[in-house]
Symmetry: C2
Subunit: 495 residues, 2 copies
Amino acid sequence: MKLTDYRVPLSGGTRGPAALRELVELALSALEVGAARRGGPIPAGGPRALARQFEGVFRYVQDGAEIDEGALPRLAELLAYGSADPADPSCAAHLHGPPLAVAVAADLAVSALNPSLDSWDQAPAATALETALLAELAELVGYRPEEAAGVLTSGGTESNLMGLMLARDHALAGACSVELDGLPAGVRPRIFASEAAHFSIQRAAALLGLGERAVTAVPVDRELRMDVGRLAAALADAVADGARPIAVVATAGTTDTGAVDPLHPIADLAARYGSWLHVDAAYGGGALLSDRLAPLLDGIARADSVALDWHKLGWQPTAAGIFLVRRAETYASLARRAVYLNPSDDEEAGYPSLLGRSLRTTRRADAFKIAVTLRTFGRSGLGRLVDRCHELAHSAAASVRAEPALELHCEPILSTVVFRYRPATADPRVADRVNAELRRLLLREGRAVVGRTELPGTGPGRVRLKLTLLNPNTTEADLAALLKAVVRAGRETDG
Amino acid sequence: MKLTDYRVPLSGGTRGPAALRELVELALSALEVGAARRGGPIPAGGPRALARQFEGVFRYVQDGAEIDEGALPRLAELLAYGSADPADPSCAAHLHGPPLAVAVAADLAVSALNPSLDSWDQAPAATALETALLAELAELVGYRPEEAAGVLTSGGTESNLMGLMLARDHALAGACSVELDGLPAGVRPRIFASEAAHFSIQRAAALLGLGERAVTAVPVDRELRMDVGRLAAALADAVADGARPIAVVATAGTTDTGAVDPLHPIADLAARYGSWLHVDAAYGGGALLSDRLAPLLDGIARADSVALDWHKLGWQPTAAGIFLVRRAETYASLARRAVYLNPSDDEEAGYPSLLGRSLRTTRRADAFKIAVTLRTFGRSGLGRLVDRCHELAHSAAASVRAEPALELHCEPILSTVVFRYRPATADPRVADRVNAELRRLLLREGRAVVGRTELPGTGPGRVRLKLTLLNPNTTEADLAALLKAVVRAGRETDG
């Protein structure tokens, strides 16, 4: 097609869907071809091999008078070939779930219409829809929807940042909205989180200007659950030392074991010290969908703020993060008037504005795919998927226990299994090396994508493998094959 | 379909595309119906009317044993009906562009495969692709691709935040990575930006713990271009006062007029004071695609960091933000080791990690749609679209000048036109009220989505209307009809 004789095919309007039909079919066919060519959870070969293949397809830059209609299928096929596909039962490393087809189709509608939630006149329906969805999610957490508030985020990391930002601004009562040197002398803000809390807590402290060292890492038990006695001692020490405990972060579902910190005792301590309580339920929040697992999160409704993330146990394509606060009036830090987005006379005339809810300005309507998914499956339908992943984890743990070459770290709590291969010698350095290498061997040969992590502490012997089971279509036979591949790779590596 | 007798339809694997084909068709048909029912740029009626319609469709929550397969088409139709559609030539308020169909189809491939860029083993191809795309974009800015670094972001706001975070951490040499009370006494960080700079600069300063008052607003000329003499004076005053100018932000394309601050003189001043230079080219960066307009941004390559945003002049569905730094070694603040994502032995074995590039952990492959678009159209093809929007702005400005009921604020620079309706009386309060109200009248009647803003300063008479022309398919006849609707609404409001 010549560039001179076309109206550009756009995705919106009454004619957009017709233009999309044709292009989407090109993309879908290319995804089929790419997935078949991959033939497994990840392409065989390392990063260098893949980058070389990629270069060949990628290098050509169209810059003449013609449109290159082959670019979409060519690149889509390569993307599919070069993906670690969470829909493959042997791709089970990370909190990286296989999206539901219905959520992906819903997300296409959002891309096509491109609503932006920073002003009503860019997103009339999406504004109403996000507001309604957040009320439902607040209720799921146990908040009173009419008192709560929230926003969709890019994931748990952004939600954790927002919780700590509100904690900082709440505690320092405006001190952080003036110059750094204007802080009252001697204010030493401290954040308390377990040593198994997500690293985004440290990152948030650094970004907020509090410094990573403002985060006190509270020890955990073997399952990576916060030791509440140690939290109590750390809070008392900090206060005695003149520091200010501005926030306590409880983790509801650690990345590795899925452990949920004891929420009620932590809430009691946060209340006693006047600290903001943030619960990072990015992973464990999925338990709220399941009648069987929801009791694990008992106490979450006492949090001042909560992070959820439906790209994990929610089967959404990213981004699908959610940030909620119990009381809307605590959500003050981002209130802002932008004359071109939310002038006061518009608000007086009844035009709502979500600008003050988000760290972003332009913002995609990620709420839509979640709303469609929730309406398609219902809470109970999604709860069954959560339960299925939980069962799969127990089943995998049983197989690990039954296999002498493997060693289970602890019983599954949500849907992960932490374990390791036992090499022939008992040297912990060898165990670490063999486990790290066997995982890379599986990657290199395109056989499996297995997680690798380290237990808290110092010294050798802490490297572990991990299965993160988020694919409800995985079968017990798939798990057996996956563990067999791990054992075989262990033997090859330890040889 | 009963929940008990299905394998959940996922979007990935070899069978995902078949599941998607069916659901995507449901969504596309619903988009057609919804757009036809809307029949204009935005649905008639205000937020309350729409919210009521929405409730009816939204309230029903499926929670039984069946899947509700009607949820997707029902909600997609409502989303389309209730959208402000930038593909309609009368929807011209914001930097909210109509996406190219090819970019939307590419984005579907990303949703389906769900790569996450926080580790190589969640995104082998996407990691290589983002790296290659960023090198191309660095070259477009004039950076040396082998020395530069960058990341995809959620938009200009996140890119501006990252620029100022690096500026803070660079200037305070690690001071911000310890406790607030550990800052050297007397350090008073200051950021300099024009009074027409985006409000995300103030927001970033607050988030970073520097405080909004750390931002000095430098006056602008009538076209909203920074007054460099005033910047020089402000820098000198701040230093004389003992403050530390940690960053200068130049705006390349203000939201309202598209004005580009004088980049070379600003770069000279930043260099003289040892300040980080960040260029916010979220809007104006589009000019780099056009041979005709690129000279406007001459000097941008001297910036330490740059914000671009292809959801504006780039025709991508959000998110499509880009952050670039000239020298990769200045990109240190986010370096972090997460044992489950980028263990050091993986990096030694040649597995690349983009974790330290982003504020996020899980991260969608927004690079893919941009890469496909760039390959489909080439830089020159996209440059023609930029030029067409620029022409449309000049054409609209000529019509405004020719219409006695309207008053042009200044000549278009990129693709916006700032103007106002002249009411019968000369009272500036009346002019403000009439212009604000006529815009809401157009919204309420579903006739047009026109921008409304205010010029810098204080006192009445600053309200202006704005057309942001990002739709290359808009015709001169469309513009004439749009301006006629504005004049008619002005007469109705001023009556």
